[in-house]
């Protein structure tokens, strides 16, 4: 069953078409990589899928609801982590968790148990009352991802989650992503690190607002006769 499905989803800004009639499906529990160069339309597409931006034409269904018609239903079922840091640096770890738990309508008792579990998992118990701003970037990103999972969303959208972190932390971050996928969460990840594309179940390659290729990394490499995803991307982008 597909949890995300779009039909000729299009967004224009004046004469410029940022996203040009993209049609694709994402299966439940899948790690779906959304790849493309800067300006290829990834972020615009992601904004339409999360209800931040209205489509010019076409349709997007997320978790069984039309994003633009029933945004409230969709919003409750999705998590989001932006490439810019999505927690508040002047609040402590505990306060951030409390805030996002509250915003997503969790009960106080639930927030308490979830906070304890989350802190234990990330081994941050000792830092729970420290300001988030004092944490190293890698930790912040891991924390932000865990907070995005707090309300048990069915889908989490990750917009360039690993930009700016070191390779080791990036690996650890992907372990968290696998863990979430393992319990049935669907993950849609945009990235421009081609090696990360190898970690995805399926990837789509966007070029100039269109999806030029969509398959498993293995199939894509065979199809384009490439050693790695980086080569696949270069071949597609060259056209």
């Amino acid at each position: 069953m597909s949890i995300i499905s779009t039909e000729k989803l299009t967004r224009s800004f004046g004469a410029f078409t940022a996203v040009n009639a993209i049609t694709f499906d994402v299966k439940e529990g899948e790690i779906f990589g959304f790849l493309g160069a800067n300006g290829a339309g990834k972020t615009t597409a992601l904004k339409m899928l999360t209800g931040l931006l209205a489509p010019t034409s076409g349709k997007a269904m997320v978790a069984g609801y039309d994003v633009w018609r029933e945004p409230e239903q969709v919003k409750r079922r999705i998590g989001y982590m932006s490439q810019r840091f999505s927690l508040y640096e002047d609040l402590t770890i505990r306060e951030n968790i409390r805030l996002f738990g509250g915003i997503y309508g969790l009960r106080l008792a639930d927030i308490k148990t979830k906070t304890a579990r989350l802190l234990e998992k990330l081994a941050l118990e000792a830092d729970a009352d420290k300001l988030v701003g004092a944490l190293p970037l890698g930790w912040k990103q891991k924390l932000a991802f865990s907070v995005a999972l707090l309300h048990e969303p069915r889908i989490v959208f990750l917009d360039e989650p690993t930009s700016g972190v070191d390779p080791l932390t990036r690996r650890q971050f992907w372990e968290l992503i696998y863990e979430a996928a393992h319990i049935g969460v669907t993950l849609m990840v945009t990235t421009h690190f081609m090696e990360e594309a190898e970690y995805c179940g399926r990837v789509s390659m966007m070029v100039d607002g269109r999806i030029e290729a969509l398959d498993t990394p293995r199939n894509l490499k065979t199809q384009y006769d490439a050693k790695n995803m980086d080569e696949v991307f270069r071949k597609i982008a060259r056209g």
Binding site: L52, R84, S86, L91
Partner: protein
């Protein structure tokens, strides 16, 4: 409701943890009230005045016309009885009144004539300046008379008696406490809200909020509610300073004053939200607020410079500044002790502004984010 309270709680934490914000919030009003203690003198043109002239003889008519031709005054009203003085001042239509005795020409012939100038000292700078102008013109008139008759008077022919209404000691504080209130409430409410919303946009956390189940209106209210509370607290501090440090009166209803403050804050808050929909980052929000709101509030609302002396285009611009309408409300309530029966017009204008800007900023907020 849990959603909303969690959000408001966060907002209070932001404010209380940021020393700079706290300093602007609570240090600024005190410093400004104390700073604006300097009395500012200004030139005035075409101030509205009333004349009560029961004698209506050649001398009084000649003196009145000389006063009117000076360019400083504009004859708003001829009064028929002393009982009309009070309503004319209370309504704010006149800044000064000239009262002649019933037999002015005869008194003048006899040697000394009594003449009364009454100024509206709820605006002491304007009142003093007007009285000085009037005195100078009257002295001029006597001089001319003396030259024409060929007699150099030994002493002044007229005894001019001056009275300042509402604020007999002409304290400048009566002018700047209300002025600072309009400024501080605008600063805190509009500037701080625009900055705090722009900050979320700049840091990228606004996207996270918009993707969450929070409604845009909840985000706006959640971000402004703490500032509404803090601004009210601020207004209270300024009024207390005015009363206990500078001896300002509070002659009207304190509840009306509070209600008018809330109304003015709604205008300011919605202006702040409107600015934040236009500004991408905190710096821009701050500059737009400072140039677009603070400067006009200080310069064009009549707080420092009398609106009477401004060129017409600036007076027109002044009319769309909320402080222009809020300033007379505070003065009216605190100094003159008047109520809604007099201030209904200003209140109505502020109300209309609140509705207009709130609607505009809500529409913009949805469109832009």
């Amino acid at each position: 409701m849990n959603r909303f309270s969690a959000f408001v709680q966060k907002e209070f934490r932001h404010i209380l943890r940021d020393r700079r914000t706290l300093l602007i919030l609570f240090g600024m009003p005190v410093v400004q009230v104390l700073l604006f203690g300097f009395v500012l003198t200004n030139e005035i043109k075409n101030a509205n005045i009333a004349v009560l002239d029961p004698s209506k003889d050649l001398e009084s008519i000649a003196l009145t016309s000389k006063l009117m031709s000076s360019g400083y005054f504009h004859l708003e009203k001829m009064l028929d009885s002393p009982s009309e003085l009070d309503p004319a001042f209370r309504s704010g239509k006149i800044k000064m009144a000239i009262v002649y005795p019933p037999d002015f020409a005869r008194q003048l012939q006899a040697g000394t004539a009594q003449l009364q100038l009454i100024g509206d000292a709820s605006d002491p700078n304007t009142a003093t300046t007007l009285i000085n102008y009037a005195n100078a013109t009257i002295a001029d008139y006597q001089q001319e008379k003396a030259v024409n008759s060929g007699v150099i008077p030994v002493k002044s022919l007229m005894v001019v008696q001056t009275r300042m209404r509402y604020n007999p000691e002409q304290k400048g504080v009566f002018n700047f406490v209300p002025g600072v209130m309009t400024l501080i409430l605008m600063l805190v409410a509009a500037m701080m809200t625009s900055i705090t919303i722009a900050k979320e946009k700049e840091l990228g956390t606004m996207e996270v909020l918009l993707v969450s189940p929070l409604q845009p209106i909840q985000i706006i209210l959640g971000k402004t509610a703490p500032y509404l509370v803090l601004t009210l607290l601020n207004a209270f501090i300024v009024v207390l300073l005015g009363i206990f440090v500078f001896g300002m009166p509070l002659r009207g209803s304190i509840f009306l004053l509070a209600a008018e403050c809330v109304l003015y804050m709604f205008v300011a808050l919605s202006l702040g939200i409107f600015i934040s929909t236009k500004a991408k980052d905190q710096m821009t929000a701050m500059f737009i607020s400072a140039l677009g709101l603070m400067m006009p509030t200080m310069l064009l609302s009549g707080f420092i410079f009398p609106r009477e002396s401004m060129p017409v285009p600036l007076q027109v611009i002044g009319n769309v500044i909320p402080a222009t309408w809020f300033n007379p409300i505070i003065k009216g309530i605190m100094i003159k002790g008047v109520g809604l029966d007099v201030l209904w017009k200003q209140t109505l204008v502020l109300g209309a502004m609140a509705v207009f800007f709130l609607g505009l900023s809500l529409k913009n907020f949805k469109d832009r984010l």
